[in-house]
């Protein structure tokens, strides 16, 4: 047994050598020994890095650009560093744009603020107003539709198709429908609404009338989306809960408040979050109906500044960054206030 020296070390030494042989290099070796969870994270890492690069690199570059001066001629697209000047111009209504981000001045008397131009010609308020009103009506109508679809009745399938149909219409076609509806030569919309006394003679040239048109067009289409998501929530509610409630003598209103609403709320919030994000970004619908000059949204402003023809990249970047900021703030309201909702957003 002369060769059998140092039995402990020998055996372990041989084993670790075979291990090295098998894997070839220490990195792989390390990878092989990771736990299942750690390995999963490792695999997710490249995708996460790529996604954050895609998400944050443009945002940071946009911010850097937004601190530089506009340069409308010469080869260099941007001028020198001007600090927050572009932001000041945007917030005071002095941006080099046909429609302003916001144009509000403080005043000494009630209501203490004054609008430089009508409120529906300021992109921030148009967008916020559009988002709040459209999401409100879409939620209410969507809930109603989902409630109907959740019942058992003859012809339910047809009703379901009818409700979902608007969602299948492409956005530009939808825009054209409403555009033509309010072209006096073509559609009956103008005459009818004028007869009701709601609209003026040329609704598509008037900011207020056009705002309503865009709003209705969006609600008409997107209520169906809300209905679908809410319906999914409704159908997951355990029916026996209603039986129990009925036996306990709960009124329909109580059943809705105590059972339906709490159980549907997580799905409802997700649906509302999606819709709010969409509404804050509204552009295509406006462009294909009334046009961005008549109803300026935040995205309209970004597109106009970036692609309007005059090279004002500094201003464009500042508008884009402000838009991202506003949308981010609105979304964080949801995330913050409803963070405790079970199965909700966080």
């Amino acid at each position: 047994m002369a060769t059998d020296t140092d039995p402990d070390g020998g055996i372990f030494g041989d084993e670790s050598e075979t291990e090295r042989d098998r894997t070839g290099n220490p990195v792989v070796n390390w990878m092989e020994n990771l736990s299942e969870a750690a390995y999963a994270y490792l695999l997710l890492l490249p995708a996460a890095a790529l996604l954050s690069l895609i998400a944050f690199y443009p945002l940071i570059m946009t911010f850097v650009m937004s601190l530089q001066e506009d340069r409308t001629r010469g080869l260099e697209p941007l001028g020198g560093f001007v600090g927050v000047e572009n932001y000041v111009n945007i917030l005071t209504g002095n941006a080099r744009l046909a429609r302003q981000f916001m144009d509000v001045t403080l005043s000494g008397s009630f209501p203490f603020i004054e609008f430089g131009v009508p409120i529906l010609q300021q992109a921030l308020f148009v967008t916020l107003g559009f988002a709040v009103i459209s999401v409100f009506f879409e939620t209410v109508i969507g809930f109603g539709q989902a409630y109907v679809l959740d019942q058992d009745f003859r012809g339910r399938r047809w009703v379901r198709v009818a409700i979902i149909l608007p969602w299948a219409v492409p956005i530009v076609i939808q825009g054209m429908i409403f555009f033509l509806l309010f072209q006096p030569e073509v559609g009956f919309g103008s005459d009818f609404m004028q007869w009701l006394g709601v609209f003026g003679a040329d609704p598509l040239a008037d900011s207020q009338d056009s705002f309503i048109i865009v709003l209705v067009a969006d609600i008409w289409k997107s209520a169906a989306f809300m209905a679908l998501l809410i319906l999914a929530g409704l159908q997951s509610v355990d029916r026996s809960l209603y039986d129990v409630a009925r036996v306990a003598g709960a009124s329909p209103l109580q059943r809705f408040k105590m059972i339906t609403l709490p159980l549907v709320l997580p799905a409802l919030l997700v649906a509302m979050l999606f819709r709010t994000m969409d509404a804050m970004r509204v552009y295509g619908l406006i462009e294909s109906t009334a046009g961005c000059t008549t109803v300026p949204s935040l995205t309209c402003l970004v597109v106009e500044a970036m692609f309007g023809g005059t090279r004002i990249y500094g201003t464009a970047a500042a508008v884009a960054f402000m838009t991202a900021l506003v949308i981010g703030l609105i979304i964080s309201v949801y995330v913050f206030f409803f963070r405790d909702t079970q199965g909700g957003l966080t």
């Binding site: 409308t72 697209p77 004002i312």
Partner: protein
């Protein structure tokens, strides 16, 4: 194949890991190898792609693409070869959207990214200058042979050339392909039936006052809905063209006459002058009638209020349907409606009516008939690797026969407008019947004041003029607001130059 095999093995061993511990390591390695190889293959697969070595790519619309091939009519490609273009060089049209704004946006990205093809851009004369001032074009003065340059400088319509020149060096950075003019079209039969003599209108237009009376009377007599249709939506066309025309015929100007059209910075803003206000007041009368407190006296209501929603297509609709007496549009509608099966000889074209003669105009170069200048230029992409061939193509486009072929195929007016003298209606269609009026329009063409900040200024102009037309603002208030905004943008440019 290797990738697929790798993936198969990865999957196989991946499933295996739940059964035996020994395969875990293998599965992870195989999986990583397979995915990275797949990603590599995917990326390299996306690269590459080639085009013919003697193909010159130019942008255009679908009509131009068809005409280049000669799908139904004379082929522009053939004409180019006959004009001396090397037989091996083929021109391929990369057809894009019809909409001029969207095309501008596309070119902006292409040029900013330094890409080619296309080797030649077709650019709107309304926004070629911003590209020139951003140094994204090449001087054609250096590239074109002397005789060609001489021909272009000598024969081409001056107003078109002005929008193709670098305003500081005076060098040509684009070669006009065709000019376009706003034309006043009317139903001769309706107007004659109402008792008006139109025989002199081909050469000398009526005054705006007579025009409006005739439109109103003919409308009532013929029992049609509209006296006059035009474009007054809040868009580029209002600022560059329809209002620019009306304003000029009243002797008004945005920036004090035609001397200061192309250099932004120190121009005097003159939109508050009485001549500009009168132009708006007349349009207010046309749209809202004499009851409007801001309407000009003595002008009847002839246009529907809906004109404030109309661009070219929408305003053409009622006229094409025989439901309007007078109509302002571009030559394409004359080409369509002048055909025998449409209105034929009943379609009249007159020089633009005017209110103030050139001698009495407040600003230099204004007054008298005025026709907004549109049209498209050929611009060499400075990033092209085929400069020589591309220049050869552009050169071929300057030949008269090519111009006439394009006129015949598409109705694009030759940049050498005199060529229209010799065209025959039977050969080239109804536009030839109106060649005198078109030439007169060319003489009175009024370009928009295009500079690097024109797109920015034009949207503000359109917005304020639109507000005044609609009655949302009084003419004085709208032009006052416009003046302060234009002053500000002029100052912005001057500041920028100063640093």
């Amino acid at each position: 194949m290797l990738v697929i095999k790798g993936l198969e093995r990865a999957l196989f061993f991946g499933m295996g890991q739940y059964t035996t511990d020994r395969t875990v390591g293998l599965s992870r390695r195989q999986y990583l190898t397979a995915t990275s190889v797949a990603a590599g293959v995917a990326v390299t697969g996306c690269l590459g792609g080639a085009r013919g070595e003697e193909t010159i790519v130019m942008t255009g619309d679908t009509d131009f693409e068809e005409a280049m091939r000669g799908d139904d009519g004379p082929a522009i490609q053939e004409a180019l070869w006959e004009a001396g273009l090397d037989d091996d060089i083929r021109v391929e049209v990369q057809a894009s959207v019809d909409d001029t704004d969207q095309r501008m946006q596309a070119y902006q990205s292409t040029l900013q990214a330094g890409r080619s093809p296309p080797d030649i851009f077709m650019m709107d004369s309304g926004w070629t200058l911003p590209f020139i001032l951003r140094e994204q074009t090449t001087s054609m003065t250096e590239l074109l042979p002397d005789d060609v340059l001489e021909r272009v400088e000598g024969e081409y319509l001056d107003a078109s050339l002005e929008t193709a020149r670098h305003p500081e060096t005076e060098e040509l950075h684009a070669v006009p392909l065709f000019p376009d003019f706003g034309l006043m079209q009317y139903r001769r039969d309706y107007v004659e039936d109402a008792g008006y003599d139109t025989s002199g209108w081909d050469a000398e237009p009526p005054s705006w006052e007579e025009f409006a009376e005739a439109a109103a009377d003919a409308r009532d007599e013929a029992g049609v809905d509209f006296g006059y249709t035009t474009q007054a939506a809040s868009y580029e066309g209002l600022a560059c063209c329809t209002f620019n025309e009306v304003m000029t015929t009243w002797g008004g100007a945005y920036f004090g006459g035609t001397g200061a059209l192309f250099e932004a910075g120190e121009r005097e803003v003159t939109v508050e002058s009485e001549s500009v206000l009168d132009a708006i007041r007349m349009m207010r009368a046309f749209i809202h009638g004499e009851d409007d407190e801001h309407a000009l006296d003595g002008f009847p209501q002839i246009a529907p209020t809906t004109v404030v929603q109309w661009t070219e297509e929408e305003s053409l609709g009622p006229f094409a349907a025989g439901n309007a007496v007078m109509h302002r549009n571009w030559p394409f509608s004359v080409m369509d409606l002048g055909a025998e099966e449409e209105f034929g000889e009943d379609l009249g074209v007159m020089p633009m009516p005017y209110a103030v003669s050139e001698d009495d105009a407040e600003f230099e170069g204004t007054g008298g008939s005025a026709h907004a200048l549109g049209g498209w230029h050929l611009v060499l992409n400075p990033n092209t690797e085929r400069t020589e061939m591309a220049v050869e193509v552009i050169e071929a486009f300057t030949h008269e026969d090519v111009m006439l072929t394009i006129f015949e195929a598409l109705g694009y007016i030759p940049p050498e407008v005199e060529l229209l003298d010799d065209v025959d209606e039977d050969e080239v269609g109804p536009l030839a019947r109106y060649s005198d009026q078109i030439q007169q329009a060319a003489d009175n063409a009024i370009p928009r004041p295009v500079t690097d900040i024109w797109p920015e200024q034009s949207s503000v102009m359109a917005q304020e003029i639109h507000a005044a037309y609609r009655g949302a603002k009084s003419p004085e208030q709208a032009m006052g607001d416009l003046a302060s905004r234009l002053d500000r943008s002029e100052a912005d440019v001057e500041e920028q130059d100063g640093d």
